[in-house]
Each structure stands twice: as C-alpha cells, then as structure tokens.
C-alpha cells in the first residue's frame, strides 16, 4: 500500500491516472472484456446477418423432419429412413457412447495389464511391451483405424466365410455373425438374480470388512462374491428350465440373414481406439507403480504380508493417486477420438448427425452446435465421475 501511495504522490498533479496501479489493472481488464464482448457480438451479428442475406433456413425445426436416409448400425433402437433427424441424433449418440464405453473398458484392462507386464523382471516380456507401447502411441490413430479396417476387409468374402462350431459363428468381411439370443418365458428371472447377487456381494463385502476391523477374522470375499455373481443367475436359469433359444444365421442371397452382426466398421474403430489408448494407460500405470518407493514393499514384506496383499493394500492405493488424473484425460481423449469414425463410415454422432444430417438440411451452425454440446456433456460427465473417484482414493493427509 505504501508503495502505491508513494507512486500516487509522484504521479500526482493530474499527470495521468495510469500511474495508479489499481486503476491501470482495472482499466486493462475492462478493456480486454470489452474487446472480447465486442468481438463476440460482432461474430454473432455477422453470422446472423449473412445467414439472413443468403436466405439459409435457421432454427431447430429440422429435428422433427424425416431424415430419409438409412443408418447401418443402430443396436439400441429401431431406425428406418422414415424416422426423424431427432432420432438420427439419438442413434448417433448411442453409437458414440457404445464405442467409447467399450473402448474405455478394453483400454483400461489392457492398459493396466501391459503396465504391470512392463515392470516384469523378465527381460523379454518387458521389451515386447515396450516395443508395443512405443509403436502404438507413435503412429497416428487415424492410420491405425484405417489399418484395422483394411485388415477386416481382407477377411474372406461372404460365400467363403470362415465358420466355427458347426456354422454357429461366422466370420467374413461383412462382419462377425453370432446367433441371436431369443429369451423365452421366465428368462427375466436371470437378470433379476444377477442384480440380487450384486447387492448381496456389496453387502457381504461391507460386512466382512466391518467384521475384520472388529475381530480380525478374514473372509474370502473375492471368491464368495464371484461364486454368488456367477452362480445365482445360473441357478435361476436352471430352475426356469433354460428358457433361451438362439436364432442362427443362414446364407440367403447376398448376405447371411438372422443372427447378430458385429460389423467391421465398429470392430476396427473399437480395436484401434482401445489398443491406442491402452498404450498410454500402460505408461500411466507403470509410472504410478514406480512412484511408490521400493521401501514400502520391503516394509510390507517385513510385516509378513503376502505379495498380493502388498500390491492391493500398500502399493495400489498409493499408486492410484498418481494414476487417476492422467487416466481421466485418456478417457476423454478416447471419447473424442471416437469421432474419427467418420473415416470408415461407422455411424457415430459426427458421421450420422454431424455429417449426413448437416449435409441434407444444410443447417451447419445448429448441427455443429448440438454435436459440440454432446461432446462437452460426455466429457464433463466423465471428468466429474473421475474427480469423484479421485477424491475417494486420494490419501487422507494428516
């Protein structure tokens, strides 16, 4: 304060308000905000003006108009060309979510597995993983997607399909075809049993932890819960008399009819996204594990803990602290990278809604705006969830 007053004193006599530091900073901030505001107003005005001048239609009415084109992949809802552009949006959104979700799961498992292998004392194993990581993360993702697509298109043609297990599973360049499950009467009991088993395992895990804290007695939580989660639905399935039929695919005309087709566009995108992101995740996991000093392991062994316990109780909780934040970015990257689907025609939101709908309706601003909002929402949700998880696993510092 005193320095400022001194400055004011020196700059007095109406020389300039600019010698006042507070005024100066306020002035520049106001100026920057004003310029930014003026710029935004100009952009909005200019866009609206030009759209009007060229007679381009605006508004969101197109969402209710019939789309008129077909979409190859729509696993969660019925879609035909007579449905609306609004429906196209949902189909595209679900396709994006599907490939991102499965990609995140696969990348996480593979990434953690590779990260641990990378630290293996076995020279060959760790070198192989090293080569995989360096190769995968240094080749652009788009090329990897195209590579996988080319590989799947190099499979045999429809008439020369590879068949497995007595023609039950069929593989050709149009995709992998598996029997379609047709649940019969009473099948609903199976998912109900699964949900029950899940609740029971959570309850048992909590109870076991409490009991251990109170009495020191340890229960085989993992084995019991696995048995429950697998066993209970199986039991329900058996009790209701195996009410599940399968529709098998048959070669009719150009293609196989019936069954569930997993298309090469989806598989190529999923493989490429998972393998690419797994390479980054494995490095994150390796760094996380290495960040825990070796003394911790030695101390744990000295206390007589088993190696698996050392990993689970000593190393992982400390490593996760380091692992979670970069992992969040990887998940966000994977989700956003899924928009490269456009290159091979997988109908995600950018290919279908942000591409074809944009083109058929010509309403670029509205469509791009909605598409951007979708990615923003998905990203914020992922990052919100990961922040919550990060808070849970972070060490409580005393």
């Amino acid at each position: 304060m005193s320095a400022e007053t001194a400055q004011n004193a020196r700059g007095s006599g109406g020389a300039s308000l600019f010698s006042d530091q507070r005024f100066r900073s306020l002035f520049f901030q106001a100026l920057v905000i004003g310029l930014l505001g003026a710029f935004l107003v100009f952009i909005v005005y200019n866009t609206a003006h030009n759209i009007e001048k060229r007679g381009i239609q605006t508004g969101f009415a197109f969402l209710d108009a019939a789309a008129g084109y077909d979409i190859a992949i729509s696993p969660f809802m019925e879609y035909t060309a007579t449905h609306t552009h609004g429906r196209v949006f949902l189909v595209g959104l679900f396709n994006t979510l599907l490939v991102s979700f499965l990609g995140i799961i696969a990348a996480t498992f593979l990434g953690v597995f590779l990260g641990v292998l990378r630290l293996s004392p076995n020279w060959l194993v760790s070198r192989i993983v090293y080569c995989y990581v360096e190769f995968t993360r240094n080749v652009p993702l788009l090329l990897q997607i195209l590579l996988w697509y080319a590989i799947f298109l190099a499979l045999p043609a429809v008439k020369q399909s590879i068949t497995m297990f007595n023609d039950i599973i069929i593989l050709n360049k149009r995709g992998l075809i598996v029997p379609e499950p047709l649940p019969g009467d009473g099948f609903m009991l199976v998912p109900v049993a699964l949900v029950l088993a899940l609740f029971a395992s959570i309850f048992f895990a909590r109870w076991a932890k409490k009991t251990q804290a109170a009495t020191g007695k340890i229960y085989p939580v993992f084995m019991t819960n696995t048995a429950m989660i697998i066993g209970l639905p199986l039991l329900a399935f058996a009790v209701t008399g195996f009410p599940l039929d399968f529709a098998y695919a048959e070669l009719k005309g150009f293609n196989f009819k019936g069954g569930v087709v997993i298309k090469p566009e989806f598989t190529a995108l999923w493989f490429a996204l998972s393998l690419y992101t797994a390479a980054f995740i494995s490095e994150t996991v390796r760094a996380g594990i290495q960040s825990v000093s070796h003394g911790q392991t030695e101390a744990s062994e000295a206390l007589g803990l088993r190696p698996s316990w050392t990993m689970r109780l000593i190393i992982l909780p400390q490593a996760l602290r380091v692992i979670i934040p970069p992992m969040t970015s990887q998940y966000l990257n994977l989700t956003k990278n899924s928009s490269l689907a456009v290159a091979i025609g997988y109908p995600d939101i950018v290919q279908s809604f942000g591409g074809v709908t944009l083109n058929q309706t010509g309403q670029a601003i509205e469509v791009i705006f909605i598409t951007m909002l979708v990615y923003l929402t998905i990203s914020l949700l992922i990052s919100g969830f990961m922040n919550w998880y990060n808070n849970r696993v972070s060490l409580v510092e005393r």
Binding site: A38, K53, R54, K173
Partner: protein, 335 residues
Amino acid sequence: MKFGKVLFAAAAATAMTTAAQAGTLDDIKARGELNCGVATPLPGFAAPNAENVWEGLDVDVCRAVAAAVLGDPMKVKITPTTSKERFTVLQSGEIDLLARNTTWTLSRDVNLGFEFVGVNYYDGQGFLVNKSLGVSSATELDGASVCVQTGTTTELNLADYFRAQGMKYETVPVATAEEGAKVYDEGRCDVYTTDASGLYSLRSTLSAPDEQIVLPEIISKEPLGPLVRHGDQQWGDIARWTLNAMIIAEELGVSSANIDEMASSTNPSVLRLIGAEGNMGEQLGLDAKWAYNVVKTVGNYGESFKRNLTDTLNIERGINAQWKDGGLLYAPPMR
C-alpha cells in the same frame, strides 16, 4: 491510444461486413483468379491429368467462367470437395462457384441458400454390380450391401427405392468416390450406387472393370449443374450465361476450331455470340468478347463432352444431346 485500438477493431469489423457484401465479380477481378469447387477426383468430370492439370466436364465449366470473366481459362483455383463439405465451402464464400455434379433440388435451391444456374449433365441414379453375382435387375437386390456416398441425394433415393420395392439392404457409407471404389473393390458391398455417369467413371478405376455391369434401372432424375450463392444476382447471371454460351455455340455450330472464321458469318445469332454485334457482354458487366473467349479457349459444350466423357469413358450423348437432336439441352436465346 487505447481508444484508437477500439476504433481500429470497429473499423476492421465494418470492413469485414462490407467485404462480404461486395460483388463477387469485383472480388474475382481484384483477385485475378476464380475459386471453383469440383469433385474429389471423378474421372470425366473432375480429375487431374498426368501433368497435374485438372480436367473434366465440370472443370470446363470453371474454366469457361474464368475465360468469360478474366479472359484466361487457366486463372482458376480448383478446390476438390467431398460431397459432405461442398455446400459449406460455397456458403462460407471459400469458393465462388461449385461445379461438382450436384443435383438440382428444391431444398438445395431454397433452403441452403443457393442458386443453380443451369444443368450441364442430365443424369439418373443407377446400380453397379459384379457380373459373378448373376443379378440382371435392381429388383433382385433384396438383402444386398450397398455402398453409397454420404450426404448426397443418392443416399435418399436409395432409401426411397428400397422402401418402395419392399426390399431390405445394408447401407455402407463412404465419403468420396475414390474411397467408395476401394471399399467396393474389396468386396465390402455387393452394389455401388450413384449417378449413372459416376458409375461409368468409377468402373474405369476398378481393378477389373470388365467384370462389372450397370443394371438397367435408372431410379431417379439427377439434373447436375453448377451453382452459386444466393444474394449476388449479377454473378449468378454470369455463370448461367457462360454455360448457356457453351450450349448455344454448339447449337450454332461454333467451335474452338472455327470461331475465328465466324467473324464473317451472316447469322446475327453467331455475331451476337462472338461479340461482333449487340452488347451482351456489357449487360453482364463483362468484356464484349466474353463468349468468344469461352468458346475459343474451352470449346463448346459438345467439344467438352466429347473430350471428357466420350473419348475416355465411352459415355454416349444420350439425353444430353441438343434439343434439335432429340436431347434435353435447350439454352434460352441470347439476345
């Protein structure tokens, strides 16, 4: 000084708005170059030749407009566009003219804010299949996988056709004709569908062109033509009458080879075309010899068609013949 900055920004903003309103013709003359959007390589319509110079029926429209406006058919900056991005590129002003085998439809004319200036190729959608499938009609395509370029009227016609026929199909979307050719060649789809001219063009790029047949059914009307943005009528007129000049030149028998002898013609229509009579150029805001330049350097419509489509792809004139030869080409009189 700070206020000077604000003023400068405001001035720049105003300048940008006014620039967007200025005449396209003046912009091109000032630039000395026409920005023209064409197809990503589609042999016959727009593709670079061995010397990397773009050629084709659509490219000739670009060159003709450049010849009319700037007197030189080579003063064109060619921008290849995919079917998806073509409209945005034109709307945003990145190109002045889009000559990219684009179908003239009501919603494109009205909703997208464009102005189609004519038709330079009357086309219709067809199907290309491999002979080995033993298909002889499009009505036998139930259950087939169909490759189609996204964001096209083709995609909509395809859905309509199969729905009307009560048949099912698997759509395999591709972004460009080149990519489509690759995927079709690989056998990802049984059928490739696009405008018939595009099918002939695509067939020439496949690994075994003789193994492919185009099915007899033509399922749509596809009048393909160049288009400009709404809002600059003068520019639209120039593009429209450049195309008409090429068509009229053929009708009058004026070609790049004989146009210099035509100065002694007694036909007033010919004299108006080559600028020896009347003030057509002045009315359009162009040089009096604008149409002369077009025909002299690019040729008339028939020459362009023969050079780009008949000689290389064996495409017949068909309905694209002059009206007096039983075709659909009919340019309004230039007077």
